[in-house]
Assembly symmetry: C2
Homo-oligomer: 336 residues x 2
DNA sequence: AACCAAAATGGGAACGTTCCCAGTTTGTTT
DNA sequence: AAACAAACTGGGAACGTTCCCATTTTGGTT
């Protein structure tokens, strides 16, 4: 049977220390310095012998703030997301906040549910990597005074700060690198850009820039229902005369494409391969896959500090966009 | 300026619906059925127009239970951990619980801090993948009536359930597979087993079984300060006469070893390579790396259901060990 | 129609904390 | 030594909910 010796409370500590609950409360809050050193040690001792832990639920209830931030992640199994979570967590802890992470598995239904949950826990700020477009819900949350930050994906009709990669710059850097290396036609592979603004931005920049610069560019929108092996094979065959490269819109695509290259025996390098998002294995695939690494730590920290600014009333006049530059990691896969 | 229109409460809903707070409380709790259908719809309407969200802090305070589970992860950037987190999250949600995940980055200091935090949030159960050996703290938590489950790593002098891979079986399966494939000497590569029981169990089983079965086995304890390239080169040279294989204790080691193989030009297959933990890229490294995949979903679910059993007083008479069998994924790296 | 059990509803205390304000002590100035 | 300001301490209400128990309503029997 569980011992259910209920948790010790503020009042018990106060009793043992021979003081009032107010003083004990002060001791554990930001006003500790107002207490006499003598009283401080007395409280510290009492709390120690009783093993007292403040009950954050009670604190959160009485207006004291929950000291919690909430984070919604579209796909926790994506290494990029994990890296950002890691950055956010560190930044949050450094500012005395804790983080509740919820994973939506790219399901708008779960996203709704989790948003309800997070606001029920009275989080003081929300970092959102959206799966769907829950404008209505988010607008309601914002109206209730909870600051929001969007991560990587914008949401229409919601004027919140968006933090993420500088997508246009990333595409430009990729194109520049690939052209420099001597590739003369580029196939851009992406998932359906319908519901993720970052995908849209990248795709749009790609078509725009290839047109402007007169580069021979094609796009391939991946679709689970179809087999893209044929397309890739054809592209690779054409590479023999004029070298072509495949540019992958994100880490997942890089994985998919690498699989196809290997299964079809397409040589990496002669047909170029490059991806947005850095992954642990990119250096291991012979001859190494060139990537644009996202500065995940910076992104995580920017998200938190943006939130804290809003919390402290230093809100920007208008919702800002933080665009972070990628880092080019050159490897053998982009040498024809 | 923030609108700070404070959240609507139970009482406002009750007022609008022309009923009492008790009834509204019942509506949102497990006793909804006790209410007249007419009352139910009236409350539902009122709650809807006001956009009411129950305040879980208040609920948690008044003994109602926080409906929160806490999870401590030693390294969130380890794909294995993420996969387990995913399983735990799904199982928790299915039972109406939410999950706070804290990452300790393998730092006992952070572990302590996070444990304090989690118990301050009144979590109803704790799933712990330990970094250090915080027996004292965990014992205190257990005494206060919060059920515990250990994940992958045991903690001395704490009689809690441990859930994880069947390490002995995993080693046995690996040895059997490697011998069958014709390897005649095996190098077991692991990180220091000092503070992780799973590593100890695997290492111990390896030395024991190689001795018992008369297999030529060596162990290599990785150490950041040293360069193990020499050892590997020597091992590979000997493989020419009698084929040898490297068995990696976990996913990280597999990554490290693969790097060394590639940098040193050691052929994978002639010198075997096999790892515990399945990773996305293992099939991509030519000729594919053989692995023992952990059943991460099963492990996550087992952890949650073990916790819920304890919560419902169905506590096992003695702390149990759940050992889950791995799945052998054969690829080209173990064909001499 | 009167009665009674069962079901439905509501009032109030309690959960553990913070914060306001009042009361007490300390220290400095005349 | 008196007076006053400043620093420190403490009592009580409030936060939004749940749960106990009392009260009211319902519906079935005699």
């Amino acid at each position: 049977m569980p011992v259910t010796s209920s948790r010790t409370t503020l009042i018990e500590v106060a009793k043992l220390a021979g003081t009032s609950k107010t003083s004990v409360s002060r001791f554990f809050g930001p006003e500790r310095e107002r207490l006499t050193p003598k009283l401080q040690t007395r409280i510290a001792e009492a709390a120690n012998t009783l093993g007292y832990q403040p009950n954050l639920m009670a604190r959160g209830l009485k207006g004291g703030g929950s000291r919690l931030l909430g984070m919604l992640v579209a796909d926790i199994r994506n290494p990029f997301s994990v890296a950002v979570v890691h950055g956010v967590e560190q930044a949050a802890r450094a500012s005395g906040y804790s983080l509740i992470v919820c994973n939506t598995d790219n399901d708008p239904k779960q996203e709704q549910q989790h948003l309800r949950l997070l606001s029920a826990y009275q989080v003081e700020g929300l970092i959102i990597n959206a799966s769907g477009q829950p404008e209505a819900q988010l607008q309601a949350i914002r109206r209730s005074g909870v600051p929001l930050v969007l991560l990587d994906r914008d949401i229409h009709q919601l004027d919140a700060a968006v933090i993420g990669l500088d997508n246009a710059l990333a595409i430009d850097m990729a194109l520049e690198h690939l052209m420099e290396q001597g590739y003369r036609s580029i196939l851009y592979a992406s998932e359906s850009p319908d519901y993720a603004s970052a995908r849209q931005e990248r795709l749009q920049r790609f078509t725009q820039q290839t047109a402007t610069l007169g580069i021979n560019g094609q796009t391939l929108i991946l679709n689970n229902a179809l087999d893209h092996t044929q397309t890739l094979n054809a592209f690779a065959r054409r590479s023999v005369s004029a070298p072509g490269a495949v540019l992958c819109a994100n880490g997942n695509i890089t994985l998919t494409m690498t699989r196809i290259f290997q299964k079809q025996g397409i040589a990496i390098g002669p047909t170029g391969l490059m991806g947005i998002d850095e992954l642990a294995w990119c250096e291991l695939i012979t001859p190494g896959i060139t990537t644009l690494a996202q500065p995940t730590n910076d992104i995580g920290q920017a998200a938190v500090s943006c939130l804290l600014n809003q919390l402290n009333g230093l809100a920007q006049t208008s919702p800002t966009r933080h665009r972070h530059a990628p880092r080019l990691q050159v490897r053998g896969s982009t040498t024809p």
